[in-house]
Symmetry: C2
Subunit: 145 residues, 2 copies
């Protein structure tokens, strides 16, 4: 089901990396966090517990693939996962590679900045995204997402 | 595997509500968010993608049970889920009932406060936790978590 007026029903919600029948992966343009992806469930569902168990498992396998690709390519300090949806109540998982040098680490990306951004290091990550996403698409294509 | 010095290996990490072999559920004492639970994986694993797929599915079913109990009892505006672990890299899922009146809504709980806390409404939630947790324990006991 799609809901008019919902930004994740009306459009991709970011640069689309992969699209399956049940979910898509987008790269989010969030300043200061160059490796910030979202796994967006296609159907307009607000809460995790509204999904059927098999869909939950499938969704988290896609999250795990995205996470593993970020870990393999970027060796981040930590991966952060979150499904919040207070502003856009359409199920989407944030998958964010975190680095010791990012402006919020070790706080969540939504907390106050602790240090200045590091555009040079951000750019170094950005240069790796194309190869990382080719690998991600390849791995996601091996299953029916 | 347990790791000495890890707060989630050394202790429960909060008021224990349920303990299974693979995971436990704790109530977190986070000021301003009276219905804040954590699903803590027993083994010391840092990243989601380190778990086997069957364990990931199991873990998210526990998260779904906790979420469903919060929704049924409290009708929150939204449930927030997150596995961050930047400070404590031992896999744990935050399961947080959010309300329009809480000090951060609709921002994440880690963002700056937007309004004063509402101790009266918080207390009204606290009074429902005992019954909610009895129900939660009952539902969690129907599976091998």
């Amino acid at each position: 089901m799609l809901v008019a007026g919902c930004p994740l029903c009306d459009g991709p919600g970011g640069r689309e990396v992969f699209r399956g029948a049940k979910l898509r992966v987008i790269h989010a343009a969030e300043a200061g966090f160059p490796a910030f992806y979202r796994v967006v469930w296609t159907d307009h569902v607000a809460e995790w517990s509204e999904l059927a168990p098999a869909d939950r498992a499938l969704c988290m396998e896609a999250v795990a693939v995205v996470e593993q690709c970020l870990r393999d390519a970027l060796s981040p300090a930590k991966i952060n996962l979150a499904a919040l949806g207070n502003m856009v109540p359409h199920l989407h998982w944030h998958v964010i590679a975190r680095f010791e040098w990012d402006s919020r680490f070790p706080s969540p990306v939504w907390a106050a900045a602790q240090r200045a951004a590091d555009p040079q290091r951000e750019q170094a990550i950005e240069h790796q995204l194309a190869a990382l996403e080719r690998e991600m698409i390849g791995r996601l294509a091996t299953r029916s997402f």
